[in-house]
């Protein structure tokens, strides 16, 4: 029997916006779950995904991806890549698998809601594939992390992370609950598919994959590549929805969703990808700095896409450009200092050679961020290791969940952007974080950061009390992965002074 060509039946087959007979359309697609923007029902008829795929083709392609990824894993399983990898790369793998796996798993249900409550047939169809994608991503993350478990207990966090109140995990949950799990299907498409997946997954998967290949980690590189090819497909749910919103007079709402989500994702990926690219990736394997990658993928490609759609640059673009030079550098200091609070074993990444690279890529780094590192180095040279872990907790931003930071040193500045709301003082790391809160205060007001919980004595107000609350049993607490070997070159040049 002759088969129809895909283009001859595809559009008809996914035109599933039928007329319900037993319930009202509003009951079938409740406003809160489908579209809080009150777009007319017929507006969704215009949804046209740029990338079309049949189930048969989808399954075949996904199988090929899995065969490729698992074949590379099997071929390299007997090698000792992990054991011989640079300490920074080991830290990167530990961080990535603990931080990313549960996000992939959570995305399964986020896409499933879009499958059920999306108002366009094509959107529901693509979201179905998205849900299947995310199942595969969670599985491949868990499987590959499991391989590393005999090497380090840190990989147990691929499974454990979401069931803890570790500060990094609280931060991730706060962000992705906001843009992915507590929005209607239309807003989800703009905030997750467009803002998050079009822009930021490129960072963690394309850039990191390239760094992995250069570092000889072909297992990780292949895994990331197969994931990114899925992201590139299902992220395209967002753009048709944005076009529909703009065409029906909802540009301001679309812009606000985009502005909120872009910033929330930036605050997650700047520390995650920024530290991995500029500190954890071995110097000899770095091609671009985090800032250079952001400039190419975000400042140019993503913004061009936004402008082409008729949207504007986010209002805070100048603030974003300033943070490209600063935020992840400040976070890296904190991540190193508060290492017992982390499931991975961080590295400093500031040997004399690495500082030269940082100064080259980020002029002024030595005078600012380097000033804090100089104090840390002085303590290590004097063998005052205990002085490299601060006694007080860091202040946490009530929006990002990360440390409230700025620029250190004599010319530096740290500003706490505060807001009093219903008798409580909130603290934010930037004017943008505060602006997001002000858009929907009731959405965010009830959340307590790890520091709010500490100040309210939810946990014992001791170091062990805080660590236990975060799920960090003594053997799980992060330590310097190099055993402070990175400071030895300084002993030759600064030893006497210390």
């Amino acid at each position: 029997m002759a088969m129809l060509k895909t283009e001859e039946w595809y559009d008809l087959a996914r035109a599933t916006t039928w007329t319900p007979r037993y319930v009202a359309p509003r009951e079938l697609f409740p406003r809160e779950l489908s579209d809080v923007h009150d777009l007319p029902d017929e507006a969704f008829d215009a949804f046209d995904e740029p990338y079309k795929v049949t189930y048969r083709d989808y399954v075949r392609t996904q199988r090929e991806k899995d065969v490729g990824a698992y074949s590379v894993r099997a071929a390299l399983a007997r090698g000792k890549f992990y054991d011989n990898a640079a300490p920074g790369w080991q830290a990167l793998l530990q961080l990535h698998f603990g931080a990313a796996t549960f996000l992939e798993y959570g995305s399964v249900s986020a896409f499933a809601r879009a499958t059920r409550f999306g108002k366009a047939g094509g959107m529901r169809n693509m979201a179905t594939f998205g849900s299947l994608d995310e199942i595969r991503h969670a599985q491949v993350h868990l499987r590959f992390a499991y391989d590393y478990l005999p090497r380090s207990r840190a990989f147990d966090w691929a499974h454990k992370a979401p069931r803890t109140d570790n500060w990094v995990i609280i931060s991730e949950r706060h962000t992705f609950d906001d843009i992915e799990h507590t929005r209607d299907a239309t807003s989800f498409a703009v905030m997750t598919n467009f803002a998050f997946e079009t822009c930021f997954t490129n960072l963690q998967f394309v850039a990191l994959s390239a760094d992995a290949a250069r570092s000889g980690d072909h297992t990780f590189a292949t895994m990331l590549q197969t994931i990114q090819s899925d992201e590139a497909r299902h992220s395209q749910i967002g753009e048709p929805l944005l076009r529909i919103m703009i065409e029906h007079g909802k540009k301001a709402e679309a812009q606000r969703l985009l502005d909120v989500s872009f910033w929330r994702c930036w605050k997650q990926f700047s520390p995650l990808s920024g530290i991995c690219m500029d500190y954890y990736t071995p110097l000899e394997h770095r091609e671009h700095s985090f800032k250079e990658f952001m400039q190419e993928w975000v400042s140019e490609q993503f913004i061009r896409k936004i402008l082409d759609l008729g949207l504007d640059r986010p209002w805070y673009w100048d603030i974003f450009l300033e943070e490209l030079d600063t935020f992840h550098h400040a976070q890296q200091i904190g991540v190193y200092l508060y290492r017992p609070t982390e499931w991975w074993h961080p590295i400093a990444g500031v040997s004399p050679e690495e500082r030269g690279w940082l100064e080259d890529k980020y002029p002024g780094w030595n005078e600012t961020f380097g000033a804090c590192w100089d104090v840390i180095i002085g303590n290590l040279l004097a063998r005052r290791t205990e002085a490299t872990i601060p006694e007080p907790l860091p202040m946490i931003c009530n929006m990002s969940g990360f440390e409230l930071t700025g620029v250190p040193g004599r010319k530096g500045k740290v500003v706490d952007y505060t807001l009093d709301y219903r008798g409580r003082r909130y603290h934010f790391g930037s004017a943008v974080d505060r602006w997001i809160f002000e858009q929907e205060p009731e959405r965010y007001a009830g959340h307590r950061s790890i520091v709010d919980r500490y100040a309210a004595a939810v946990m014992p107000q001791t170091a062990d009390g805080v660590l236990d609350y975060m799920g960090m049993s003594p053997p799980e607490r992060g330590t310097d992965r190099t055993g402070y070997a990175w400071v030895e070159p300084y002993r030759r040049t600064r030893g006497k002074a210390a």
Partner: protein, 88 residues
């Protein structure tokens, strides 16, 4: 003691810290406690001849050294800046 949480910006640090202090301490004692926990850890030690001053973020005037925390009009989780002043 009644623990009083303050958000501290020890000028020169890369970020803010949360300090739990006794509400009965004076402002000078709060500054000394912040220095004990942070100077020589994230910022250089306090040098001889340097005096620490405390001010509420966003306000120009420094708080008097001898006033008690409870009498200084601060709320819990108030953000204060601690900066160094070199004797002339």
């Amino acid at each position: 003691m009644a623990a009083f949480p303050l958000v501290v910006n020890f000028v020169g640090d890369y970020g803010l810290k949360v300090l739990l202090v006794d509400a009965e301490l004076t402002i000078a004692e709060v500054a000394a406690e912040a220095a004990r926990q942070l100077a020589g850890v994230v910022v250089p030690p306090v040098a001889p001849g340097e005096t620490l001053r405390v001010r509420v973020q966003g306000r120009g005037d420094t708080l008097p050294d001898d006033v008690k925390l409870t009498d200084a009009g601060l709320i819990e989780m108030e953000t204060v800046e601690i900066h160094r002043e070199r004797a002339s």
